[in-house]
């Protein structure tokens, strides 16, 4: 469960508000989509949830742990996939995964089989021994996704996870997200593609210019968009993006 309460973040000495007083609750057992055009504030909010950025105001709790007050416990709760897979290019895939497993204290008894199983699922078995610098963008994305799922975190936080994935892996990831949510756990992911959100999410929020302008199920959004012009315009924009 993720609880976001009145969170704000400004850049350039408070002249640009990237995230403006956002409050959201992502419940257990749901896939929550975070939708918005490029530059709307999605990544900034995700960076605050994961502790990469400090919020100017408000609080964020992950499974009850406050990210700024009890960062280590909060960080143990989630697995994170960033929008740009910049990872240690001079480590091999397996070295990177073992590093992540050590950091998240994945028990030695399950480690090898879990790594193998995930590598197999993402068709990365034959690349695990090679340096990450030899990977294509999609392969880097896959190894980051595997790293994020390695410690079987209750909360998944994924920033544009489908970007760069081939259709097969993208399908697999969506299936895994569904399984995870059905097991009573939480998936929070951002996308700027409405089509993806529509197919996968139980609920979603739309963010624009730093503010959440709507939060609810897909049907609710559609109904609401007919009455609200600005939401309708944004909705059209997102549909065009797809």
């Amino acid at each position: 469960m993720i609880e976001i309460n009145g969170v704000s973040k400004s850049y350039n000495r408070a002249t640009v508000k990237a995230v403006d007083n956002v409050s959201l609750t992502v419940n257990n057992g749901e896939i929550f989509g975070f939708l918005g055009p490029n530059g709307a504030g999605k990544t900034t909010l995700i960076k605050m949830i994961t502790g990469i950025l400090n919020a100017d105001a408000g609080s964020i709790r992950i499974n009850g742990y406050n990210i700024s007050e009890d960062p280590i416990s909060a960080k143990m709760q989630f697995g994170f996939v960033p929008d740009d897979p910049n990872i240690f290019a001079r480590l091999s895939g397996i070295e990177y995964l073992n590093f992540i497993a050590d950091i998240y204290q994945v028990p030695g008894s399950q480690r090898g089989s879990r790594i193998k199983q995930l590598l197999q699922r993402f068709d990365m078995l034959n690349a695990a021994g090679d340096r990450i610098q030899s990977y294509s963008h999609g392969m880097k994305q896959k190894i980051v996704v595997i790293g994020a799922l390695l410690h079987d975190p209750p909360v998944w936080i994924l920033d544009e996870p489908m970007t760069g994935l081939d259709p097969r892996s993208s399908f697999d990831l969506k299936e895994m997200m569904r399984e995870h949510a059905d097991a009573g756990k939480t998936v929070f992911f951002s996308t700027h593609v409405l089509d993806v959100a529509e197919k996968v999410c139980d609920r979603l929020a739309i963010i624009n210019k730093g503010k959440v302008i709507f939060c609810g199920s897909m049907q609710e959004i559609r109904a609401h968009a007919r009455e609200n012009e600005s939401l309708e315009n944004l909705f059209l924009e997102l549909t065009e993006d797809a």
Partner: protein, 558 residues
């Protein structure tokens, strides 16, 4: 030629960040003023060392002039500069010619190899002038002023200053270009580049070793007499390592005479020949060495069950983070060359000239001193000071955060406390620091055979002494990390933290050298003082790092 000029101009603007047109913009001007201010601070901080160096040269001149050996101070400066230019040259050539981010993109432009290489060579010369300035200017001025030299001396000195880095830089470029050509054939290019660079340096050291061995071995009285009675005989001896400096030295000593001009001509000719050779080699090998040098190959082989068992062994989070730091330092050629190699090779290169001289039987002025208690405490503090210098200049912790660059976000989201991350960074650098210190200790043991007690004390003090330098480096990097960079070069080469870390080490070295020479004239007292000093300093910096440092680290945002 036009293209060569255009390329050089762009490179100068890019690397030195100076362009007249940009200077007209007030925003840029403020940035430049900031840089200028920083530069001034550095000059002021270095001033005491330069004053000390100048004083030594003045004393040296006064002692040597009556013997007709005053030219030796010129040669000393020139040999020192040539050695430095060569040593840094190998690193610069590798990093600037091959690892720079723009290196490969220039391949697509309609430029000849010599144009690209020439422009980069000129850029390097500019860097080398900056290196040479503090070492060469004082002896040139001291000799000129003291000997009341005329205009011809000063003109020759200026010309000499401009030309002197050409030969050592060419000598650094030639083997490097050839080795890189063949390193590029290999599948593991990163590793080969590193091994190649080490090979070049080893080659040159070996050359010097044999070259020096060819000189008279025994220190018979006749040789000694010749050394000091022959005019400028000492100069000849010193210039053995870089023979061309001998001619420039002779030219300066006899400036205004025909023989002086002749010597200058020989010096210029030798430098020019070196340049021509470098040009020839460059035109032939450079592009082939560069093409595809950043490509990586992969085996795409499924790992065996045994591999998995070996590669997925659990360890503590702290150890895992430390191991990651070490692996990246060893595997990234830029980091390896700048940090690890400096650490390993500097002791060798600092002591090699002394060692070679002592092999040739030249008695060093400190030989007799060494057996007195004060001599031993001085030697102890001198070796410790060099270790501090090496630890400060390898900048392993002073770039520890900067090196993360775009990957910095990983340190922010992983569930590893900042305290542990900081500890892991210090510990991994400490391992390399200890190796560097051990190298230095072994090297000094070979050169100055000392008692077991001396060696134990030296080891004890050194192991503590490097800690505050590493802590201060990390604190500097937390204060002003350079996280925005496109290629790994910038994390090091265009990062002032490296310089600040070195300055800190130099200041601390200055303090202990002054304290020991002034107050602690016995080996034991000197060691005890240093141990206490470094322990207190390390504890103080640890406290700062773990409190103030962690607060700052928490606020860092990529």
């Amino acid at each position: 030629m036009h293209r060569f000029g255009a390329l050089l101009k762009i490179l100068l603007i890019n690397y030195f960040g100076i362009s007249v047109r940009q200077l007209r913009d007030p925003v840029n001007r403020k940035e430049y003023l900031k840089k200028l201010g920083l530069g001034l601070i550095i000059v002021v901080a270095l001033a005491p060392t330069i004053v000390l160096y100048t004083n030594i040269l003045i004393k040296g001149y006064e002692v040597l002039a009556p013997l007709g050996q005053a030219g030796a101070i010129l040669t000393l400066g020139m040999v020192l500069v040539s050695a430095l230019v060569f040593f840094f040259g190998v690193f610069y050539v590798v990093s600037l010619f091959y690892f720079a981010a723009d290196a490969e993109s220039l391949l697509a432009l309609p430029l000849r190899a010599w144009q690209v290489l020439g422009a980069r060579f000129c850029l390097l010369l500019c860097y080398e002038y900056l290196t040479a300035l503090p070492f060469l200017l004082p002896p040139l001025i001291v000799y000129g002023v003291k000997s009341g030299a005329g205009l011809s001396y000063w003109l020759m000195a200026l010309l000499g200053f401009l030309v002197i880095p050409v030969l050592p830089l060419s000598l650094a470029a030639i083997p490097t270009t050839i080795v890189m050509r063949f390193a590029n054939l290999s599948r593991r290019k990163d590793m080969f580049k590193i091994v190649g660079s080490i090979f070049v340096i080893a080659l040159v050291i070996a050359y010097q070793f044999f070259f020096q061995n060819a000189a008279p071995q025994n220190m018979d009285p006749e040789f000694l007499q010749r050394l000091f009675t022959q005019r400028n005989g000492l100069m000849d001896q010193l210039s053995g390592v870089f023979p061309s400096t001998r001619y420039l030295g002779l030219a300066l000593v006899d400036a205004g005479k025909l023989i002086g001009l002749l010597n200058l001509a020989i010096f210029m000719l030798v430098s020019f020949l070196g340049l021509i050779l470098a040009w020839f080699v460059g035109e032939k090998f450079y592009y082939q060495g560069l093409m595809g040098s950043s490509e990586t190959s992969a085996r795409r082989k499924v790992l065996s069950h045994k591999d998995y068992q070996k590669l997925t062994n659990p360890s503590s989070a702290l150890f895992a983070y430390m191991l990651k730091e070490i692996r990246l330092l060893l595997r990234t050629p830029t980091y390896f060359m700048n940090s690890v190699m400096t650490n390993l090779l500097a002791p060798l290169l600092i002591l090699l000239p002394f060692y070679l001289q002592s092999r040739r039987g030249i008695t060093m002025p400190w030989s007799n001193l060494m057996n007195t208690p004060q001599g031993q405490s001085t030697l102890l503090v001198a070796v410790v000071a060099i270790i501090l210098f090496i630890t400060g200049s390898n900048a392993m912790t002073a770039t520890a955060i900067s090196r993360e660059g775009k990957e910095f976000y990983i340190s922010r989201f992983i569930p590893l406390s900042y305290k542990q991350q900081i500890s892991a960074k210090i510990l991994s650098a400490y391992i390399f620091g200890v190796i560097g210190a051990l190298m230095m200790i072994v090297a000094s043991r070979i050169l100055f055979p000392q008692s077991v007690l001396f060696m134990v004390l030296l080891l004890g003090v050194s192991l503590v002494a490097i800690i505050p330098i590493l802590e201060a480096g990390l604190l500097i990097d937390i204060l002003r990390p350079k996280l925005e960079w496109e290629n790994e070069q910038q994390a090091f080469k265009q990062n002032l933290n490296v310089l600040f870390s070195l300055l800190f080490a130099l200041i601390i070295a200055g303090v202990i050298v002054y304290m020991v020479i002034t107050f602690f004239h016995s080996l034991l007292w000197a060691a005890l003082f240093m141990l206490t000093f470094f322990t207190v300093l390390a504890a103080l910096l640890y406290y700062l790092l773990m409190n103030w440092g962690i607060t700052l680290y928490q606020e860092l945002e990529s």
